[in-house]
């Protein structure tokens, strides 16, 4: 089986994000960019499937600017076999991403698509679910364990109440949670090998998708600074403050 893994180039999780002076977004100039951590987990899981003899090929896909090729190369250095790069500058919303992925899935014919449960830049948590709906495939989100069976996957999911184990028929969409695995280091020999692995380039138009955003960002601001706490004398004062100052009850 083939496993397709979309990987997104995002601001590195260690970076202290700053809002741009004109409030149109966050500062991306001179900022370190990396692969979305949940996507690293997805790549790791796909490579483990390959190492366990359950998958034959791992394909990494990225939609983004020229530098998104680096994100693909990172996946290739971890052990993915080849890459697909959809060149696009500017914002792409989850629905457009899901539509492009659908077109790629139809072309490549993977049995499983493993995505991060969300990207740490926009935190949307939508792409996997949308892709599942567009393809009419089963979905298993927030996976903390995946077992590959015959024509099915057994997936343990992290849900509010604890762990839920479900079986889904393949082809299927899986999204990764943090505890699924610990992504590996790219070894030096694999970094060298990655240079020679192929990356196929295409455009949203090649996939028949219009990536124009449907949402307009009005403004981006820093979260309000936390104000210090106060001590209240009794329940009456608490209720009064909640009602009149915080206006939450």
């Amino acid at each position: 089986m083939k496993v397709l893994v979309p990987v997104k180039r995002v601001i590195d999780y260690n970076v202290k994000v700053r809002v741009k002076a004109d409030q149109t977004g966050v500062e991306l100039a001179n900022v370190k960019m990396s692969m979305n951590p949940f996507d690293e987990i997805a790549i790791e899981e796909a490579i483990r499937m390959k190492e366990a003899g359950k998958a034959e090929e791992v394909i990494a896909v990225s939609i983004g600017p020229q530098q998104a090729q680096e994100t693909i190369r990172t996946a290739l250095a971890m052990g993915a076999d080849r890459g697909v790069h959809v060149l696009h500058d500017g914002v792409v919303e989850p629905l457009a991403v899901a539509k492009m992925l659908k077109a790629i899935v139809e072309k490549e014919g993977p049995t499983v698509v493993i995505l991060g449960k969300q990207a740490i830049d926009d935190d949307c948590n939508q792409t996997g679910q949308m892709l599942s709906a567009l393809l009419g495939w089963s979905q298993a989100t927030f996976a903390s364990k995946i077992e590959v069976g015959d024509g099915e996957l057994t997936v343990t999911r992290e849900v509010d109440a604890g762990l839920e184990t479900i079986k889904v028929k393949t082809p299927a969409i899986v999204t990764t949670d943090l505890r699924l695995n610990e992504p590996r280091y790219a070894s030096l020999p694999n970094i060298m090998k990655a240079k020679k692995k192929p990356i196929e380039a295409m455009s949203p138009a090649d996939l028949g998708v219009d990536p124009t955003p449907r949402l307009a960002t009005l403004k981006v601001v820093e979260p309000a600074k936390r104000a210090g706490g106060v001590k209240v004398a009794d329940v009456a004062e608490l209720v009064s403050k909640l009602k009149n100052e915080a206006k939450v009850i």
Binding site: E70, R73, Y185, A186, L188, I191, A194
Partner: protein
Amino acid sequence: MDFSIDHETRLLLETVKRFVKTELQPLEADLDRSGTLPPETARAIFEKSKALGLYGMNMPAKLGGAGLNAVDMCLVEEQTGQTSDILVRRAFGNVYEVLLACDGARIARWLLPAVTGERVCSIAITEPGAGSDAAGIKTQARRDGDGWRLNGQKHFISDGEFSDFFVVSAVTDPDAGARGISLFLVDKQTPGFTVGRNQPMMGLRGTSHVELFFEDVALGSENLLGAEGRGLRLALETLGRIRLAHIGARSVGMAARILGLMTEHARARRQFGQPIGDFQMIQSMLADSAIEINAARLMILNTAWEIDQGLDPREKISMAKTYGAETYCRVADRAVQLFGGLGYCQDLPIERFYRDSRITRIYDGTSEIHRTVIARGLLKDGPDFIARH
């Protein structure tokens, strides 16, 4: 001038950085307290690093190394340098480039096993009577039929307890001065060769520093490394790049790690109702450290680049070694000051960094000797080498 770092190198730096942080740094405190790295731990980090292809990265690819050029090697050493000496040795190997002078049967016996990490090598030049004056050694190798007889002693030889063989400098022609010194490959088991006491040091806990004694040690012709009488020259030619990487780049790496801790402390520690980072005298410690680290770093990378261009930047290597080491020492000293009592206390690693930093101004040529090299170059050829174009 293009200062960008290509993506493959950045990936490698990420891997090395993560390895140092997750596999090595957590071992530092115990190692410093106990003074020894348990053999099973040493084995484990060696094997993990080896599996990632991180051992002997400076060695040519055709021998099984990574074939990194000097610039990339210095960038990598900025990362490896951010942990204790012995951990760097076990994980990444200090595979000395002087071994590339091996030819014929010497390749299989000494060079290749050193590249794979199967055998570890130390360099033995210093003697009780000859440190800075490396030409003033007394250890002698006399011709004996086809081979040699080695007599004499060495001291302060790093990692000597662990090492399997040694590159030893010895006088082969007492009348020829610096041109009468040769290098020999000496295996530890050779009869007449004994390893003496581990000489306790101020820092670098976990690395042994030993005395070596040679009593009529019988060596064959194959034990000679490089041409007879060319030993000092060979050592000088090949230790320069190592000096730049091992002392210069590692010092800069460790200084940067320390500056990171200083910055955090300056933000978090409050006195007189405000973070100490608000005080100008603390700010000046931080700013001076950043300026010096940046300067040292650029000096090292520029020197490495000249090496990669096939130039012979010996004065610049001396500058980078000296300035890198002295920067590391000044930053470690400021860190003790900025942390106050905590900087002096063994609960934090700051006092260890201070102890470990101090040797970098002494070994691999003292700061004074390197200044002598720089000044001699200036007096002979003028200052044009500083801004070559």
